[in-house]
């Protein structure tokens, strides 16, 4: 690993706390990822990206900034990356999946709040995230009350632009959202000093669509039995999708898919044929939150799909590429993003229909609903999911958990019992 100390210092990181964070990651990564059997060769690239998570990628962002480019951070799959790219900026996902800076955070946030919100605030207040420290602005959204209010506080430490995501999908909500997307385009133009045109926007739409298509291709291959890739590896790729270079990432995912297609032809997989197949749904699992997937896949099941924001919700529908004008493309963008089945919407029947479809398409034996503690939208919507799946006799396990490891034993018992029930 290169020596990035100087870069981190220049970014103003708290070096001591940052060292501690980096010391936690490698052993966890080794245990969770590198001990998996029959891993595809193509995972080497993604291992490399994680290994360089605070190194090479940050260096790239710094070089981009030195050349006059801007870096915009986002917390949610509702923020249109295409707009940032069209204006020559780099968009990176910032959500955090590890408990950090708790004492600092509890000075500004209540103790009992969703761990994801607590974590991003902790990363900022603790000055341990070089991505955060590389951002010129960050973009929030109103997808839940906790985030909405936390962004007001975060704005004390870094400029935050908040997009109002509607909570229904009526025509007037579509109009509101389109206005928000147009506003965002203006904000980005001002921040970057670049005008968004029909041409650069069309190009950005195509590039991000290509990333989505690569991820869709990977998702499609996971319908096979034996599964050609583990759910943990797939989740990792989906997590990396949010911050890696778009073109390079797309090429690497496609190369991995080429390899997986060969394996499928040869009848090879990472788990034996007939391994119980599970779909995970619920709150996003920000990197490095791999707790529940690790428990599931070390208890004798394989995860075949993630109905999560760090999963299908991020890439399952594309932006129509047929817009001739800037405004036409912005309309296409707004329409694509409003198609996301986030639990913030009421009603959110799209998510129920999608889950049923996924269970059928992926030949899943059961569904595990995983909500972060204090995540009201998903924890409450679990009831709708349960009702829908019960009507179709699909086994469901509901879990609510945070980023701590205290409940691992308990979770393992519940997950194992669920898998025994499927078998």
């Amino acid at each position: 690993m290169n020596n990035y100390q100087e870069m981190w210092r220049t970014l103003g990181l708290n070096m001591e706390a940052h060292d501690q964070l980096l010391q936690v990651l490698p052993p966890t990564y080794h245990d969770v990822y590198l001990t998996q059997a029959n891993r595809p060769q193509g995972m080497e690239y993604f291992d490399f990206v994680v290994n360089e998570i605070h190194g090479l990628r940050i260096q790239e962002l710094q070089e981009h900034k030195k050349a006059g480019g801007k870096v915009i951070g986002a917390f949610c799959v509702f923020v249109p990356e295409e707009i940032v790219r069209a204006a020559g900026g780099i968009c990176i996902g910032l959500c955090s999946g590890v408990e950090i800076g708790t004492a600092e955070t509890e000075k500004v946030l209540p103790r009992n709040i969703c761990p994801l919100i607590k974590s991003f605030m902790g990363f900022k207040l603790g000055k341990v995230c070089p991505y955060f420290e590389s951002c010129d602005i960050v973009v929030g959204e109103t997808t839940c009350d906790g985030k909405k209010k936390a962004f007001e506080i975060l704005n004390d430490y870094i400029p935050v632009h908040v997009m109002e995501t509607p909570h229904m999908k009526k025509n007037r909500d579509r109009r509101l959202w389109l206005e928000e997307v147009r506003d965002f385009a203006r904000v980005v133009e001002k921040a970057t000093g670049h005008t968004i045109t029909a041409d650069n926007l069309a190009k950005a739409v195509q590039e991000v669509n290509n990333k989505r298509r690569a991820l869709q291709r990977l998702a499609e291959l996971r319908k096979q039995d034996p599964a050609p890739i583990s759910g943990k590896d797939s989740l990792l790729i989906e997590q990396i999708a949010m911050y890696d270079d778009v073109a390079r990432f797309t090429a690497k995912v496609n190369a991995l898919c080429d390899e997986l297609e060969e394996k499928i032809k040869a009848g090879q997989g990472v788990f034996p044929r007939k391994t119980p197949r599970v779909i995970v749904t619920g709150t996003p699992m920000a990197i490095p939150n791999w707790k529940v997937p690790h428990i599931i896949e070390s208890s004798g099941a394989v995860i075949v799909a993630e109905e999560l924001c760090t999963g299908l919700r991020y890439f399952e529908n594309e932006v129509a590429e047929d817009g001739q004008t800037k405004d036409g493309l912005l309309e296409n963008l707004a329409a694509r993003y409003l198609g996301i089945n986030c639990a913030v919407f009421t009603p959110n029947t799209g998510r129920m229909d999608r889950l049923l479809q996924l269970v059928e398409d992926y030949h899943a034996d059961g569904v595990i609903h995983c909500a972060l503690s204090f995540c009201d939208p998903y924890a409450v919507e679990a009831n709708r999911v349960e009702k829908t799946l019960k009507q179709h006799n699909i086994p469901l396990l509901k879990i609510e958990t945070g980023y701590d490891q205290e409940d691992s034993g308990q979770l393992k018992t519940r997950v194992e019992a669920f898998i025994e029930m499927l078998g």
């Binding site: 018992t413 019992a417 029930m421």
Partner: protein, 251 residues
């Protein structure tokens, strides 16, 4: 000779079966070295050993051939004793579980308490000590003799302990507080059973099934008979032993 061992937080149960019949059983306090306690319970030669309970994976690395979860083990054990069972309530040292079975005795759904010990055996032990009863049996007997009338509102073990102590200071008779503490466990347990939509016959397993006061209050609350196996603490180990026997029948 097939052995099942249930390594729980409070006790370790050991059962040996042969031809579907229990030929030997024993039980020991878990202590501070669970694996050693477990190994000391193994007294003979067994064709196969299956482990369950929180220590099951440690046992798997040390001596057991396979693991099953407590949920599956209790289901197998309870159905062996009461073939018509449709719901199992297991209250152990740190966990409460409700398990629903279909007409063939297979698990179709289950619920577990969250990570805290509210309403479990540990809760009752802490309360017995807080009220100064020498043993859990004295505490149960006192609760049976106590009057209804007061209510414990905290389910958190530590908060409920403070609440019990402050009631003592207010001069409330000890038996009545004991009664209220038992009632609060039953309240919580009945809530869990109703949430999952339980069907009779209901079998009650785990150490707390030895508690006569809990059984009485639970039957009153639910309006249904509760079936208690002869050794409720050994049902998990019995299920594990039966799983070991089934393994060899298959392969």
């Amino acid at each position: 000779m097939y052995a099942g061992i249930d390594i729980g937080s409070r006790t370790i149960g050991f059962v040996v079966v042969s031809g579907g019949q229990v030929t030997y059983s024993s039980i020991a306090d878990t202590g501070f070295e669970p694996l050693n306690t477990a190994k000391n319970l193994l007294t003979g030669k067994y064709n196969r050993i299956v482990a369950t309970g929180y220590g099951r994976h440690a046992a798997r690395s040390a001596f057991a051939h396979r693991v099953v979860t407590e949920i599956k083990a209790h289901a197998m054990g309870a159905v062996h004793i009461f073939p018509s069972a449709r719901t199992i309530l297991d209250i152990g040292g740190q966990d409460t579980k409700v398990i629903l079975l279909n007409e063939h005795g297979a698990v179709i759904d289950f619920q577990m308490n969250d990570r805290c010990s509210a309403g479990t055996g540990k809760f009752l032990e802490v309360m017995a000590a807080a009220l100064g009863y020498p043993g859990i049996e004295d505490f149960n007997a006192a609760a049976l003799a106590g009057d209804n009338g007061i209510k414990i509102s905290n389910m958190c073990t530590v908060f409920a302990e403070s609440e019990a102590v402050s009631l003592l200071h207010r001069g409330i008779p000890r038996e009545d507080i004991a009664r209220a503490l038992h009632a609060s466990v039953v309240e919580r347990t009945a809530g869990m059973l109703r949430r999952i939509g339980f069907n009779p016959p209901l079998v009650f397993t785990g150490g707390v099934a030895n508690n006569g006061c809990i059984i009485t209050l639970l039957e009153e609350k639910l309006g249904t008979e509760v079936l208690i196996p002869p050794d409720p603490q050994l049902v998990g180990a019995l299920g594990a032993a039966l799983a070991a026997q089934n393994d060899s029948a298959v392969g």
